[in-house]
C-alpha cells in the first residue's frame, strides 16, 4: 500500500477526563461523527459521549463458546462410539455424563480465546503503525496522563482552519495537526 498523504485529523489535548468528556459531548452535539478519544485508562463516559454504546465482543465470545462445546462433545462421542469403542466396566459407549467435563473445558477455552482474539481483531490490532503516533504530544501523554480528542479528516464537516478554530472553543491545552 502506498503511504497516504495529507491530514489524518486534528488532535486536541486535555488535562483531565472531565474536560475530555465535556469536549466530546459538545463535538457530538455539534454534528461531528468521525472522531475518537484517546485515554490512558477506560473512560466509559467518553465512549458514551462519542456515541459508542455497544460492541460485538460478547457475540463473538458466545459463538466461540458454542463451537468449542459442539467440537469437543462430538469428538468425544465419535471417538467413544465409532472410532475406538472401549468396554470400561460394561458402561455404555455413549457415556454422556463423563463427556460433559472436557466439553465444558473446551467451551471455556474457545470462548476465552474468541473473547481475547475477537477483541483484538475488532480493534484492528495488532497495528504497529498509526498516524496518531506522528503527533508530537501523543506518545508523551495518551498512555500516561493526558486525554485526547481527535476530529478526523474523513468527517464531511472537516476543514483544517475552521475545525482548528472550533476545537479552540472547547478549551483544550493544545491542538495539533496529525499527518499520515
Amino acid at each position: 500500500m502506498p503511504p497516504r498523504e495529507g491530514t489524518y485529523g486534528l488532535l486536541a489535548e486535555f488535562d483531565t477526563p472531565s474536560d475530555l468528556v465535556r469536549a466530546a459531548q459538545a463535538a457530538r452535539r455539534d454534528g461531528w461523527r468521525r472522531m475518537d478519544c484517546y485515554t490512558p485508562y477506560p473512560v466509559e463516559e467518553a465512549a458514551e459521549a462519542i456515541g459508542f454504546h455497544r460492541n460485538k465482543v460478547p457475540l463473538v465470545t458466545l459463538i466461540g463458546g458454542l463451537m468449542g462445546l459442539a467440537a469437543m462433545f462430538s469428538l468425544e462421542t465419535w471417538i467413544s462410539v465409532l472410532a475406538y469403542p472401549l468396554n470400561i466396566a460394561g458402561r455404555p459407549t455413549y457415556s454422556w455424563p463423563a463427556f460433559v467435563v472436557p466439553a465444558y473445558e473446551w467451551t471455556i477455552l474457545w470462548a476465552g480465546l474468541s473473547a481475547a482474539f475477537g477483541m483484538l481483531a475488532l480493534n484492528g490490532l495488532p497495528a504497529l503503525y498509526h498516524p496518531l503516533f506522528n503527533a508530537p504530544n501523543f506518545r508523551k501523554g495518551a498512555s500516561q496522563d493526558k486525554f485526547f480528542l481527535c476530529l478526523e479528516a474523513l468527517d464531511p464537516k472537516f476543514d483544517l482552519i475552521e475545525t482548528r478554530a472550533y476545537l479552540a472553543t472547547l478549551e483544550p491545552v493544545s491542538v495539533v495537526e496529525v499527518e499520515y
Binding site: T16, P17, S18, V21, R22, D36, Y38, T39, P40, Y41, P42, V43, E44, E45, A46, A47, I50, F52, N55, V57, P58, T61, G65, L75, I79, S80, A83, Y84, L86, I88, A98, V101, P102, E105, W106, I108, L109, A111, G112, L113, A115, A116, G118, M119, L122, N123, L125, P126, A127, L128, Y129, H130, L132, F133, F138, R139, K140, S143, Q144, D145
Partner: protein, 479 residues
C-alpha cells in the same frame, strides 16, 4: 468504582473510621496524594531502569540455583526412570501428585483475585491482580510438569491428546485423568491469555516511556500498537469482563476435576463427595497465602506500600480466614463420615491417618492449617501486622502441602489387606524436584518483576480521585 459500595457505617462522622477519605467518605484503597503521572512513573521506573538492584541478582542466583537442581533431577529421572522416586506399592502416588495439586492450588488464588474479585467489583484487587496472575502462570508451569514427568516416558506425553495417529488409538474419555488434561491445559491457556491481554495497555505505556531503542521495539511489539482509543477500551473492558466470567467457572472446575482424580477412585479416604468444594477452598487458602508470601517482600523491596497497602494485607487475611474455615469443615466432615458411614474401612483409614505411624503428618496439618491461622486471623491487629502475616503465609503454605501429603500417602499406605501394608519415605530426588520447582518459580517470578509491569497501571489510574468525571462547575471549584 467499587469502593463506593463500602460506605462506612457512620456517614455523619467519616473521620472517626480509620482509613477513610474525608472528602468522599469512602474507604481508601490507595495511599493519598497520588496522580496519574506519579503512578505511571513509579511502576514503569521499576522496569525501565538500567540499574537492576543488587538484591534482585542475589535472589535470582538463589532461584536459578534451585532451577538448576530441577534440571539435574529431571535429567537423572529421564535417564533412570521413576524408580529413583519413592513411588512403589502400596504408595504409587507420591510427591509428584502432592506437588502437582499443591502448585495448581497456589495458582488458583491468582485467578480468584483477577476474575472473581473483578466480578464482585472489589476495587482493591487492582493493585495485586497482575502479580497474582503471574503467580498463577508460574505455579501452573511448575504443576503441569509433574504429571508429565510422572508418566514414565514423557517424550510420549502427547499420547494424552486426541489426535489421529497411525496406531488408530484414541483416549478414553471416561477417565478423570484425561479430564485433567483438558482442565489443566485450558486453565494454562486462559490464564496466559488473560494475563497478556491485561498487560497490553501497560506495554503501550512502556513503549512510550522507554528511552532505549531496543526496549521501545520490544514493548512496542508486545503492546500490539495499543493507542488507547476509547472504542478499543470499551471492547477491551468487555473482553476482560467476559474472560473473568469464563475464568471463574474454570478455576472452580479445574480443582474439582483434580479432586475427581481422587474422589472417583474407590479408596477409603479418597472416595468422598466433599472433595470438590473442599479442594477448591483449600486451593484458594494456600493461594492467598502464596500471594502474601510474594507481596510482602515485594512491596517492601520496591517501596510499593502506597499501592499495596495494609488494607490489602488485611483483606487477604480475611479471605484466608473464610476459606480456612471451609477447609476446617472439610476435615471435620471427613472425620464425621468415617464414623457415620459405619464402614469398617473408612473408620480404620481415619484412625490410621490420625494415630497411625504417619499420623504426625496429620498433626502438622492441623497445626498449620487450623490451630495457628484460624485462631489468630480474627484479630485486626494481627492481620495488619506485616511480619506476622508473612509468618502466617508460610505456615499455611506448609500446612496445605501437608494436606495433600496426608490425602495421598495416608490413604494409600495401609489398604484393605494388612499383608500389603507398607510405608512411604521420599528419596533425595523427590526432594530435589520439589525444591527445584520452588527455585524455578522464584526465578520466573523475578524475571516477571524485572521485565513486565507488576502492577496494572491502567487499573490503578481508574481508582485515583482524578479519574472522577465532574461537572464543569464542581471541577472549577476543586481547582
Amino acid at each position: 468504582m467499587a469502593t463506593t459500595d463500602l460506605k462506612p457505617k457512620n456517614p455523619k462522622d467519616p473521620s472517626r473510621i480509620a482509613g477513610t477519605d474525608p472528602l468522599t467518605g469512602e474507604y481508601r484503597v490507595l495511599a493519598p496524594g497520588q496522580t496519574f503521572r506519579s503512578i505511571t512513573e513509579k511502576i514503569s521506573n521499576i522496569v525501565l531502569t538500567p540499574d537492576t538492584p543488587l538484591g534482585w541478582f542475589a535472589l535470582f542466583t538463589v532461584g536459578g540455583a534451585g532451577a538448576t537442581v530441577l534440571l539435574v533431577a529431571i535429567t537423572w529421572l529421564f535417564l533412570k526412570g521413576t524408580g529413583i522416586w519413592a513411588v512403589t506399592q502400596p504408595v504409587a502416588w507420591g510427591f509428584a501428585i502432592i506437588n502437582f495439586v499443591w502448585w495448581i492450588g497456589i495458582g488458583h488464588a491468582g485467578t480468584l483475585i483477577s476474575a472473581i474479585l473483578l466480578l464482585f467489583k472489589q476495587g482493591w484487587r487492582n493493585s495485586i491482580n497482575r502479580f497474582a496472575e503471574a503467580m498463577t502462570i508460574f505455579a501452573v508451569v511448575c504443576a503441569g510438569m509433574f504429571p508429565l514427568i510422572h508418566v514414565g516416558r514423557p517424550w510420549l506425553g502427547y499420547w494424552l491428546l486426541p489426535y489421529p495417529s497411525t496406531m488408530t488409538v484414541w483416549p478414553q474419555f471416561r477417565s478423570p485423568l484425561l479430564w485433567d488434561v483438558f482442565a489443566v491445559s485450558t486453565y494454562a491457556t486462559i490464564s496466559v491469555v488473560f494475563w497478556y491481554i491485561g498487560m497490553v495497555p501497560d506495554f503501550g505505556t512502556f513503549r512510550d516511556r522507554a528511552e532505549n531503542r531496543f526496549a521501545q521495539y520490544f514493548y512496542g511489539m508486545l503492546s500490539l500498537g495499543w493507542r488507547g482509543s476509547v472504542r478499543h477500551w470499551m471492547r477491551y473492558e468487555t473482553a476482560s469482563l467476559l474472560l473473568s466470567g469464563l475464568a471463574t467457572p474454570l478455576v472452580l472446575s479445574v480443582h474439582t476435576v483434580i479432586s475427581f482424580d481422587f474422589a472417583v477412585a474407590v479408596l477409603p479416604g479418597w472416595h468422598t463427595t466433599i472433595f470438590p468444594p473442599y479442594f477448591v477452598a483449600g486451593a484458594i487458602y494456600s493461594g492467598f497465602a502464596m500471594v502474601l508470601t510474594l507481596a510482602i517482600p515485594l512491596r517492601k523491596f520496591y517501596h510499593l506500600e502506597g499501592m499495596v497497602t495494609d488494607r490489602h494485607i488485611d483483606n487477604m487475611g480475611k479471605v484466608m480466614l473464610a476459606t480456612g474455615f471451609i477447609v476446617a469443615y472439610g476435615y471435620g466432615m471427613e472425620a464425621f463420615m468415617a464414623w457415620y458411614s459405619a464402614s469398617h474401612w473408612e473408620a480404620f483409614m481415619f484412625w490410621n491417618r490420625v494415630f497411625g505411624p504417619m499420623g504426625w503428618s496429620y498433626w502438622v496439618l492441623v497445626t498449620c492449617n487450623l490451630a495457628i491461622p484460624l485462631t489468630t486471623l480474627w484479630s485486626r491487629k494481627l492481620r495488619t501486622n506485616i511480619a506476622f502475616m508473612f509468618f502466617i503465609s508460610i505456615v499455611v503454605n506448609t500446612g496445605m502441602w501437608f494436606e495433600r501429603f496426608v490425602i495421598v500417602v495416608t490413604s494409600l499406605y495401609r489398604d484393605f489387606l494388612p499383608s500389603s501394608w507398607g510405608t512411604y519415605r521420599a528419596t533425595k530426588w523427590d526432594y530435589a524436584i520439589y525444591v527445584g520447582t520452588l527455585g524455578l518459580f522464584t526465578a520466573l517470578f523475578l524475571l516477571f518483576v524485572r521485565f513486565l509491569p507488576m502492577i496494572p497501571m491502567n487499573e490503578i489510574r481508574l481508582m485515583l480521585p482524578g479519574a472522577k468525571i465532574t461537572p464543569k462547575k464542581a471541577a472549577e471549584a476543586a481547582d
